[in-house]
Each structure stands twice: as C-alpha cells, then as structure tokens.
Symmetry: C5
Subunit: 95 residues, 5 copies
C-alpha cells in the first residue's frame, strides 16, 4: 500500500456503468511523515475520505477486494484513513 | 487510476484476434491540472473517447473488468472521460 | 500497453516446460514516434513478430489471455504489431 | 519480492473491515547490503515482524496468498523475515 | 520478463510456510548485453539457477504459474536461464 494525501476530486459523466455514483479522489503519494510529493493518481473511495486526509491506497487486483469495487474496472482503492504514523519511536504524523 | 491525455491513435492489422475492431489510443500521463508529460502508453477505448480528451485509465487485471475487454490481452483501459478536476477548492481543469 | 521496438532474441534451454518452443523477444520501450530508449524487457511472441518491428506489449495477468500464454509463467506478451502511429493529426510512424 | 527495512507503524481506525486487528507496517526498500533508501510503502504483517527487521515483501495479487490476507484489499505482504544476505560469496547482512 | 543477473542468496527462517525449502535468490536487473545495474529484487528459483547466472524473471500473478509457486505469496519467479542474447544480428551475451 502507499501512503497518500487526498488533494482533490474528479468529475466524470461518461464512465464505466459500474462506477456511477462512486467518488474518484485525486491522491498524491506521501512519505512516512505524511509529506506529499510527485505525480498524483486517482483512487476510488469506499470509506468516505475527504480532501486533506492522509490515506492508504491498495493497487491492482487487490483494489477489487471490497464490496463496492468487486468486478469493477478500478485499479486503486482507498482502504484506510490514517490516524497517525510512527517511525523509530516518534510520532511523525497525527490527524 | 491515472489521469491521462489522449494524444493519438495506433493502427495494427496483425493483433490478437479478440482485439479486432477495437480502438487503441495513445495516452500521455497528466497531473492534477490536466497537464500531460512523460512517456506515453496505449489504452483500449470502451467509451468512444477522442484525441484531446482527458481520461482516467485503469491498468492490470482491472482493465479486463468491462464487457469489451473481458478475457482479452489488454492491460490498460479508458474507464472514464474527465469533465473537470478540482484541487484544494479550485477547479484546475474543465473540458 | 506499451509501444516497444523488438531489438533482439533470447536463447534459453533451461526454462519452464510450458515455454518450450516459444519465442522470447527483447523489446525496448518506445515513444509515440516509435523512437526506442531505456532499459529493455522480454516479451513472449504470439504473432510472429521480428527484430525491428514496432509492437504493442501487454503486461501482468493480461499477458496470459492468449491461447499460447494461458497458464504459463510469462508476464509480458506481444499482442499487436504496429502499422502506423498518428499523433495530433500527423503520422508519426509508418512501418 | 523486495528487500525492505521495517521503519514504523500506521494507526488507522477507519479501514476496510477485513483489516481490523491487522498490523500495517511502514517499509523502506533496501539493497543487497540491507541499506534502506527511497520512498516508503506499507505492508501487512503476517509474521510478527518488528521495527528494524529486514524483511521480504511480495506485492500484487501474490500478497493475498496467505491465510490472513485472502480476499482482503491489501497489495503488499511481509512474507519473510531475513536472517542474512549473501552476495558473491560474502555475507552482506546478518540480523 | 526482465533480464537479470543472480548476485546472491537470502536466508530466512521465519517465512510463509509454503516457502519452506525454497531458494530465494537476489537478482539485479540487466540490459540486453547482460550488464547488471540498479536496485536488486528477490525471485524464487524453480530451475536450480546459481549465483552468476543470467536469468529471465516473471513478476506478478504470472510468478505463480509454476508447480512450485502455485498459491504461494511470491511475486517474482526465475522462469528461464539465459544461454545467449542476440541484438541486431550480433551475439551480445553467451553463458
């Protein structure tokens, strides 16, 4: 999984029919301190995450292992909202 | 999923028989503002996307979760055409 | 899928038994003009492609969606031989 | 598989229900000497690994081939804790 | 598939039970001349490859398409030992 910051939303009228009503969020990869950088990607939301949240995303066929994403053409899912990160005994991020 | 700009088309006579009649579009990865850069890749089109469109592409086995791509040797599919992108409360792209 | 140039061949006597008799071609990733650069990878050929051809390769489980590659330990397949590429209304490559 | 150093832990209350009670560890990719560098990723732990351990992680659908991760939306699993690494006849790492 | 040089071995006592007795080799990606460079990865051996061999590795779910790796949490397998490489009519590597 990748740590990522939710930075925005996408609007798409023409899309695969299984995705109607689903929220597709723009995520930027983040490091162990929650600092985001680099090229963004888009993940389907199954947890009601919001812009600004630090999340965990799973990619590939693993993204289809939720009730919402089963059999859908999505390759990345938000599977956790991060409360805090801890590295070498220190708290590096807290929501 | 990746945000990408459709920049062109491929013509291929000799191809896997399941792909006859399918449109294979050249896509360049784009950022959250819709600005494309970097090495292109090719995605199968299931939504009648056109050159110039900003799209969402899904990769891997997820690309085979549509009626058109089921059981075909394709690893990337256009699964949404983007109307608009919104980052930190601002509209960064509108079709 | 990636656009790639076939640059060579591999010879391998000791290999998974399902791959006996199969052609494993060395491919270099190419851009939308057919210009190849970067680190090569190896794809199984199912279309009788030859050195010098510009091809499309599919990766991951999608590489196993052909009669020849079903249930074999290969992760990349040549699924199309490119006749021409067209970008922004111009022909950027013709075989 | 990748060699990686476990550098920390994540806390996530809101997550896919199949992941309740599971440990999600922050890993940094390492080289053949066990020296870690680069952007971290998160793996589910099935072996009671701890911070500081050098581990092997498997990604993609392979991450779901354990009793704990079956049918869960995780794309990376710790599938081995490394005792030692040996390169060109020399021991480059020992726990 | 990637061309890679086997550079070493890993020892891991605590690992997924399906991997007991399996050889996990450290591989460094190589180019079309057999010259290895870059960050190493680890592949399961099914062909009795040895340190120094140039091999082909398959990744992802394809790595589980052998009798030895079926249903195991491994994402990379050595599926061929390379005898020779040929690029543009010249032999660039011979074992």
């Amino acid at each position: 999984m990748l740590i990522a910051r939710v930075i925005g939303t996408t609007v798409s009228t023409i899309k695969d029919e299984k995705l109607v009503g689903r929220k597709l969020l723009i995520c930027r990869p983040a490091d162990e301190n929650g600092v985001a950088s680099g090229k963004p990607y888009v993940a389907i939301d199954t947890l009601d995450a919001g812009v600004g949240d630090l999340v965990l995303t799973a990619a590939g066929s693993s993204a289809r292992q939720t009730a919402i994403t089963k059999d859908t053409p999505v390759d990345t899912v938000i599977m956790g909202i991060i409360d805090s990160l801890h590295v070498d005994g220190e708290t590096t991020y807290r929501k």
